[in-house]
């Protein structure tokens, strides 16, 4: 991994900072306009989850290279309450917050690789990868 940037998320305006940075890094990698919109949307959803559920956390945006493949990894880390039932949280329409319940399952559909780790009372880490095709 290279060129990682961390954005501390504590308020709604940090979401905009994070997604604009994601767009900038994606643009440098030559992602298409549609992919840039996807990247910005993914960051927006993950950053909003941090604010709604954990109040604060970090969004890390990194460039990755695997052989000839280039991609972008977005990692959302918080020390919030954690997700008690990840299976349930990944179902469309399931929501404990004030959202539409489409955040996490929606993000999974938008990216190429998606991982989620969570421990109750310790926090949550979500990893979303998008490859440049």
């Amino acid at each position: 991994m290279e060129g990682g940037s961390t954005i501390v998320i504590t308020s709604a305006s940090d979401i905009i900072v994070a997604r604009e940075l994601g767009r900038k890094i994606g643009k440098e990698l030559n992602f298409s306009l549609t992919d840039l919109t996807i990247i910005a949307t993914v960051i927006s959803e993950l950053a909003r989850n941090i604010i709604v559920f954990a109040k604060q956390g970090n969004i890390v945006i990194e460039t990755i290279r695997q052989g000839k493949k280039v991609g972008i990894v977005i990692t959302a880390i918080d020390k919030g309450p954690g997700i008690p039932d990840i299976f349930l949280a990944m179902q469309d329409g399931y929501s404990t917050g004030k959202g539409l319940g489409l955040g996490l399952p929606g993000v999974r559909r938008l990216v190429d690789e998606f991982e989620i780790f969570s421990e109750t009372a310790k926090g949550t880490k979500v990893l979303a990868k998008k490859w440049l095709l």
């Binding site: 905009i16 919109t37 927006s44 909003r48």
Partner: protein, 122 residues
């Protein structure tokens, strides 16, 4: 950055700029609901042409805005959703069911004219 609301005869036009904060969106709610009464507007256009993303929060906020305006007796048309934004919204599973949409401001105004004329005839 507050959303400017323009009055055009019986209609209100709110043009949303990129990078709108949550607070701005909520302010727009209050402003529109109030101005629909003040100007006795028949319709509202929300122009999202320069909005570069529509996440679940923005979609939910727009939906509730349309419903509030409806309760105040006016119709809303959302216009200018960009192709890549539409693509991302569908993949995310976000819909604007039951909400009128139009390609651009011109089409949006035409749509409001049409539905307003229909109402007058009844």
């Amino acid at each position: 950055m507050e959303v400017p609301i323009l009055k055009q005869s019986d209609y209100l036009i709110a043009t949303i700029q990129a990078a709108l904060t949550d607070e701005d969106l909520l302010k727009l709610h209050y402003a529109l609901v109030e101005q629909v009464g003040k100007h006795r507007s028949k319709g509202v256009i929300i122009d999202v042409t320069s909005l570069d993303i529509m996440d679940s929060f923005a979609t939910r906020t727009l939906r509730s805005l349309v419903h509030m305006v409806k309760l105040r007796g006016a119709d809303t048309v959302i216009c200018g959703i960009q192709p890549e934004v539409a693509f991302t919204m569908v993949q995310l599973g976000l819909t604007l069911e039951g909400i009128s949409t139009a390609l651009d401001l011109e089409e949006g105004l035409a749509l409001l004219f049409k539905s307003n004329n229909k109402k007058r005839k009844i």
